[in-house]
Symmetry: C2
Subunit: 316 residues, 2 copies
């Protein structure tokens, strides 16, 4: 039996969940630490009609699996791919046509004592990266997918909308390109952190329309795209990181007339995220807002759901 945080229309903390049994090419992981993401909160709001164990940001130790991995600390990619479709053949498992996604879509999540996962999804964590930092590998990889999706030139002016859990990582990644970076924030706490990193925090009202070459929407809200459309210059690129429940009204004619490029962006490269963390180029532990024992997971979720909250961790 194991503990698990389950959502099936309502959220429940269970202590009698069955421990998963790994298949031949899978490992059994014992979760050490996990992070609460906005997607978890969106799933609880109805996004994707998810039912099951939540959670997809985690650090674990391998209990069963390939010999070289047993007892080692790992992070895990969250797309469980079929290895047979055209996307898998092109080595894009994050877009596998038959995928399930850990704690998001059709696959049990990491808010539990144990998780089974294909061994091919695992990445060893270098000793120099602490658990508290390693739990950020998944969201940092997602932030890196922005610069996989669009070439950010050091001559560009880039605006990041939203300085939440993901926006703070995207901002740090963009800052590394040398581009002029402005982050639209609403809270003084975020401004202070950004200033510490030498990143300019602004309010929406300070910005002129049509002046940015790249705008990254990390607001997680339907209104983010409308703001991005106002700030982006003609022929500029909007990167969409926001996923949410609902269908906003969008001025598609403005996209056509101003020849805007809109690029969706999802999961990113774990290996690059580990490299940047190991090099000390991304400051993540300062983003930890609170830490709860897993037994108090319900309180942790409640705390994380407050506006403007950064990362809430669960200790197992």
């Amino acid at each position: 039996m194991m503990r698990a945080l389950v959502f099936d229309g309502k959220l429940r903390f269970e202590t009698d969940h069955a421990i998963p049994v790994p298949q031949a090419d899978e490992a059994l992981l014992r979760i050490r630490r996990a992070g609460i993401c906005n997607t978890d909160l969106e799933l609880m709001a109805g996004y994707k009609s998810f039912s099951g164990i939540l959670g997809h940001e985690f650090v674990a130790v391998v209990e069963q699996g390939p010999e070289g991995l047993i007892g080692r600390r790992v992070v895990g990619e969250i797309n469980v791919a079929c290895n047979q479709c055209d996307y898998c053949a092109r080595d894009i498992p994050s877009q596998c046509r038959n995928r399930t996604t850990v704690g998001i879509d059709g696959y049990p999540g990491a808010f539990a004592d144990f998780l089974r996962l294909p061994s091919q999804n695992l990445h060893l964590i270098p000793d120099t990266i602490a658990d508290d930092a390693a739990v950020f590998v998944e969201p940092l990889a997602a932030a890196l997918q922005v610069i996989e999706a669009v070439h950010v030139s050091p001559r560009d002016r880039v605006i990041v909308l939203g300085a939440g859990k993901l926006g703070m990582l995207v901002a740090q990644v963009i800052a590394l390109t040398g581009a002029e970076l402005l982050v639209v924030v609403r809270r003084e706490k975020q401004s202070m952190l950004l200033r510490r990193w030498g990143i300019r925090a602004v309010s929406r009202d300070e910005l002129n329309p049509n002046q940015a070459q790249v705008v990254v929407d990390c607001t997680g809200q339907a209104e983010g795209f409308a703001t991005a459309l106002e700030l982006i210059e003609p022929r500029g690129t909007i990167v969409l990181k926001s996923t949410f429940h609902g269908l906003p009204q969008v001025d598609m004619t403005r996209v056509a007339v101003n020849e805007i490029r809109v690029i969706g962006s999802r999961c990113g490269p774990f290996v690059a995220a580990l490299r940047l963390l190991e090099a000390g180029l991304i400051d993540v532990e300062v983003l930890v807002e609170a830490r709860y024992r897993f037994d108090d997971a319900l309180s942790a979720v409640e705390y994380a759901a407050q506006k403007g909250m950064l990362k809430v961790l669960l200790d197992f």
Copy 2:
């Protein structure tokens, strides 16, 4: 005095409009032939709150202007640029920050006996291109902007949504790339034309979701984008040619999760359009649905506004 088709909330045919007086760097053009575009119909439906002389597809003869042009047949680019902003400096006058647009936005249109236009906007028409074909240079250039915006590979499967005035040109342009091309049509007339060109016409129901690398929305309707989102494969590119009055609801989360690229596309290269017409690679005269004397412009507009109508020409 001259004749002019004016829209200011309602459509009027005037016979006592003042003949425009060209400035130093402008030419005075006598219109020979003009075409009615969907944008004209959208403007009459309230798009951009336009007021003035309509029309932006035309063939003309230069009456006053640079010596080498006088008496010659020309087509004219429709963006009247400032020559001073950052876009003009980058040689992208179609996105000039201070532009007006002939017959669309802040500049009198071509549905009149005379039009003044900056000489830099003019292109000579080779003798081998008849007036009836030359009137298609502007929309054919707009169709070519699709392959300026996105690289269509001969390995791609491309779907064109909408086989109207613009869609029929976009389809012919895409066919030249060697890509697998499917055009979604609603009417037998369009199907027959496409088959004549060796292009496959299909109905929406015949198509599987998530299977096209490129989808071009030429529907001119809000629903076009939703259909494009269903048909495009993950990481595929949707090109938006549609402009219309109104704000559709759009599933932006699908754009993010499937990492779709959406690219707006507006005016295109006249020089390339003239090359393709001169080479006989695009069949345009067959797209002429009807021809009206300019005196009957009101009837022509009424006729052009019917569903499924291809190009209606005005003879001056």
